[in-house]
């Protein structure tokens, strides 16, 4: 088991680098928005939201990329070596989960470190504030990011289930085992997915509301026709993503597992 985890980490070093970079990138994007309107608000209200957002993206991206890497291994030739090892498939699966968690914790550590540094910057250099402010786009960026996040969660959940069924059951085992497992998995995943989707919408809506009401006087960010459209577009975007995900997963499952 120890060896398995060691090699899972060794194999996934590219994942760690990639996921770290993406976390920093995605984490960095919403931050300038906070400063654009009013640098003083950062520590009071927006920063906790941003921390949550970054944790959200950190976990999503970390686990997603990890799962994609694992999925690739199960279906490609390296899987032959892994599944020839005389340890139970359950242990292999457990090692992958442990590695995924360890990797995610690493990402969270980096995220928190990043936030800490950023808060420092927020309190300090005016130049940095200006610099970050220069990157800002519309509030829509935040909405789209939240949408992508929820979409990634969907993808991750589905991939996770497929991996679980393939890893535990092995290659090309009877479909009779896979279908009930997927059905149980989907029953668990569906409410989680829906709640995450709703959360992403709420986060989007919450941030918009925060900007539009609490700080509207400071930021000259009054509710306008454009912002209202933006809000609904972000919600619609979320759901369109989810529907698209359902369709693509359906096609994927049909092709790969012949369900």
């Amino acid at each position: 088991m120890k060896n398995l985890i060691k090699y899972e980490l060794y194999k996934n070093r590219i994942f760690l680098i990639l996921a770290t970079s993406l976390t920093l990138l995605f984490g960095a994007l919403p931050l300038p928005i906070a400063i654009k309107g009013n640098p003083d608000i950062g520590l009071n209200y927006i920063v906790p939201i941003l921390i949550l957002m970054m944790i959200f993206y950190g976990i999503t991206l970390g686990m997603l990329i990890f799962m994609i890497f694992q999925q690739r291994e199960i279906w490609n030739r390296n899987g032959i070596l892994l599944y020839s090892i005389p340890v139970s498939r359950f242990k292999i699966f457990s090692a992958k989960i442990v590695t995924g968690l360890v990797s995610t914790l690493v990402l969270l550590g980096i995220t928190f470190g990043y936030v800490a540094i950023y808060i420092k910057i927020l309190n300090g250099s005016a130049f940095m504030k200006e610099l970050f402010a220069a990157f800002t786009g519309e509030l829509a960026i935040m909405s789209i990011l939240a949408s992508i996040g929820s979409w990634l969660y969907w993808l991750m959940t589905i991939i996770f289930l497929i991996i679980m069924s393939k890893t535990v059951l092995g290659h090309h085992k009877s479909k009779g085992f896979i279908i009930p497992l997927l059905a149980i998995g989907l029953l668990i995943a569906l409410p989680i997915g829906v709640s995450l989707l709703a959360n992403a919408s709420l986060v989007t809506a919450g941030i918009e509301a925060a900007f539009q009401t609490q700080y509207s006087s400071n930021m000259d960010f009054n509710i306008t026709f454009g912002n209202t459209i933006n809000f609904w577009v972000s919600i619609a975007f979320n759901w369109l993503m989810a529907i698209g995900m359902f369709i693509s997963c359906g096609v994927f499952l049909k092709k790969k597992l012949n369900i």
């Binding site: 060896n3 060691k6 090699y7 194999k11 030739r77 390296n78 032959i80 070596l81 599944y83 020839s84 090892i85 005389p86 340890v87 139970s88 092995g170 290659h171 090309h172 085992k173 009877s174 012949n258």
Partner: protein, 231 residues
């Protein structure tokens, strides 16, 4: 002594029958050649013995047990594809095998690398196809497994590398080890075979002792292959 029993095994991929009611027994200490064209079921059979696949129907027994964690301890399987981790050096690959397979002999592995002129510090990704084929054989043969399976070890490589691999196999096979080797290059592997099994469209087209085939039927395995597959 019987090491492997295959009883009425069939394997269906969606609608395609890869193996059709195959039965055979494999004895300890013999070299078996599983021969046949592409799609005849050679790899499927080996993967089932390696516990990488399950038969649709029928039963497989290795050392009296169905393929499982236990059987994987005594079975060494070399697939056709490059299944080793590309980021590892050849030495690191050996350590990987040593970590996971109790019967892996590191000294023997290093000796095999030396014999086949493979630099241990080189990365797997830097190997030519011939070198990669040699490495796969070295990593598999360094295990002191009861059943060793080499799937197409001579595929896509030049004559000199083929000779080197054949020599390595012959020199390193233990007396009580059962070796299964599959290949399209019948004439090349014929000299090392004790038994030949010809698979035709998932069925056993011929199975018999190579020596007897020569003495009784006055036929080489290659000629038998031509007869069975209708060349």
């Amino acid at each position: 002594m019987i090491l492997v029993e295959i009883k009425n095994v069939s394997k269906i991929y969606q609608s395609r029958m890869a193996l059709d009611d195959v039965s055979m027994t494999l004895e300890s200490g013999k070299v078996y050649g599983i021969l046949g064209p592409n799609g005849s079921g050679k790899t499927t059979l080996m993967k089932m013995l390696a516990d990488l696949m399950q038969p649709t129907t029928g039963k497989i027994l290795i050392n009296g047990e169905t393929p499982s964690v236990n059987s994987r301890q005594i079975v060494a399987y070399m697939p056709t594809s490059d299944h080793l981790y590309k980021g590892m050096s050849l030495e690191r690959t050996g350590i990987f095998f040593k970590d996971f397979f109790d019967d892996f002999d590191m000294d023997s592995y290093m000796k095999l690398l030396e014999e086949m002129d493979l630099p241990k510090k080189l990365k797997v990704s830097a190997l030519s196809s011939g070198m990669a084929a040699k490495l796969r054989v070295a990593a598999t043969m360094a295990r002191q497994a009861k059943l060793i399976m080499l799937d197409e070890p001579l595929n896509g490589i030049d004559l000199m590398t083929r000779d080197c691999i054949i020599k390595t196999i012959v020199n390193n096979i233990k007396e009580d080890t059962t070796l299964i080797i599959s290949s399209h290059l019948v004439e090349q592997i014929e000299p090392i075979l004790d038994e030949a099994i010809l698979l035709k469209k998932g069925k056993v087209g011929y199975s018999g002792n190579v020596e007897q085939l020569r003495e009784v039927e006055g036929m080489s395995v290659a000629n038998k292959y031509r007869e069975v597959f209708g060349a």
